[in-house]
Symmetry: C2
Subunit: 346 residues, 2 copies
Amino acid sequence: MSISANAVADAVVAPPSALSPEGVRDARLRLAGRVARTPLVRSDELDRAAGARLWLKAENLQRGGSFKMRGALLAVDRLACSGSVGVVAQSTGNHAIAVALAAARHGLPAVLVLPVDAAGTKVRRIQEAGARVVRAGTTLAERIAVVEELKHAHGLDEIDPYQNPDVVLGQATATEDLLHQVREAEGHLDALVLPVGGGSALAGACLAATGRDVDVYGAEPLAVPALTAALRAGGPVTVDARPTIADGLRPDRIGRLPYDLAHDRVAGVYTIEEEAIAEALRLVLVHARLVVEPAAATAVAGALRLAADGRARDIGVLVSGGNVEPRLVASLLDGQPTDLPQERQS
Amino acid sequence: MSISANAVADAVVAPPSALSPEGVRDARLRLAGRVARTPLVRSDELDRAAGARLWLKAENLQRGGSFKMRGALLAVDRLACSGSVGVVAQSTGNHAIAVALAAARHGLPAVLVLPVDAAGTKVRRIQEAGARVVRAGTTLAERIAVVEELKHAHGLDEIDPYQNPDVVLGQATATEDLLHQVREAEGHLDALVLPVGGGSALAGACLAATGRDVDVYGAEPLAVPALTAALRAGGPVTVDARPTIADGLRPDRIGRLPYDLAHDRVAGVYTIEEEAIAEALRLVLVHARLVVEPAAATAVAGALRLAADGRARDIGVLVSGGNVEPRLVASLLDGQPTDLPQERQS
């Protein structure tokens, strides 16, 4: 696809790093009409199971199947308009799909670096968008090393999933939308729950919620407690990641930028056991009739814990994506023991 | 729950049987804020698979898990305000869930008559709403006989799923919403596809689409070709129903009222093989990330056929419900042969 006149104009006027609530509102305007206005899904049955009102921001229905489309569009816009010859990014999957789709809109080549054991569904979606997939080890450090090589060998521009300000601003618009939609429905949120991998969703939510009376919580797999560890250590640290079905939350270290934006705003972090992730995914499938990936289910599980703790009655949840292996969904619905991936890190 | 003042006022002002486009618009106003404004879901991947643009009206996200909530609310409103002591209805499941929930809002007792082999998920939802479930045979005629008994024994008011004008008007508001939402998105539809069981969705769509330049198609299981047979015979006839996974489309005869409203407006009917229903359900799960029941998937399969025939580029589809057995979804996602119910009729 060719660059539209509007895309160029938007990218040119965008300030380079307005990491502020105003920046989020600008980002939302720039994305209007280019991303789906995903619904806020309510389910009486899910609310009954939770003992609270859950407001699910259904970004599994977003283009590319996740909220990461938002940040990728803004970041690729800027690079395309500054004469980039191509982009490269590392990702466990959804950021890669989003960058591939955004690059295709601008006719830019894209190379995506994924772990060797990335979800097959995600790899296929990247390839269908016309981008190149490179597989590199299983850890974040291994992927970053390959990105560095590709940058220098081919003159590609990197779009980091956690450190790029456009990406964080774009991801923030998902929460900004959610807050708008709750107000339109004349609701009021006590709390927001975001899934935490590298931290861009959480950082974006902290930006969008600035000045608003709502508590912001993270939810991460107990198997990869990178935010919990960072908050304890007073800065990002690499944790020993154990296997998790939440493939989107495998980064074993929080990004520096997300940490800086979130650490003194976040009200708490829930670490979620694998079985609780699986159970939340089942609940959302059966009661909210949405197909979600385990990363999104991790946030729902966090909301269930928050409700059980009696800390919130109205909880907004970022249902971050829906790119899940059909066989995993099948095994969870069948109530079979979760088929965990082999021991690995990310 | 008690009767709200608004519910009473609305029911009192509603004309008894305005089976017209104006009646549909009135019904939509009466339902505003009482049913979910379900989203119109688009999926680039699904469109690519279809070779057309599909606009999915996601009534699987409706209260009670199906569009039948709409008609049930209007019908129960009227009865509650005219001094009813309780309601009774026969159904293959979704109409029963909807009547149970609507009756609970008014504090009215409800008895629902289902086939002995009704989907367990549906039976549970009815019981959770506080209503009584009576099982009666497997055919429509058997259920109707039991409804007659219950009406006379207990003085209950019947809410027929096909013959009640409030029900048909309520179901019509799903298509009315869909058409509104397409206009809001600055789209234009060539065609609408509705799943056909007893015919209320199709009849409602024909009412809502009156005077609009859009073709209306039905889609029914090849195993229960009741609309095809009625159109051939020039009136409703009972067909020999074979087993189908589309439990919501098992009525073996089109209702007289739906037939009268639809027969000269409908542009065509697609009869869908079981494997095509299963494949459409898989496509919607994986590409549109929605959990839908086989009845809804039947309409999607109809849209795929319409697109393949080259008869429409933009197709609105009523995704009628999402009350599906988790194990059926699991077996479909696993690509296992569909586990058909035993030979039976409805």
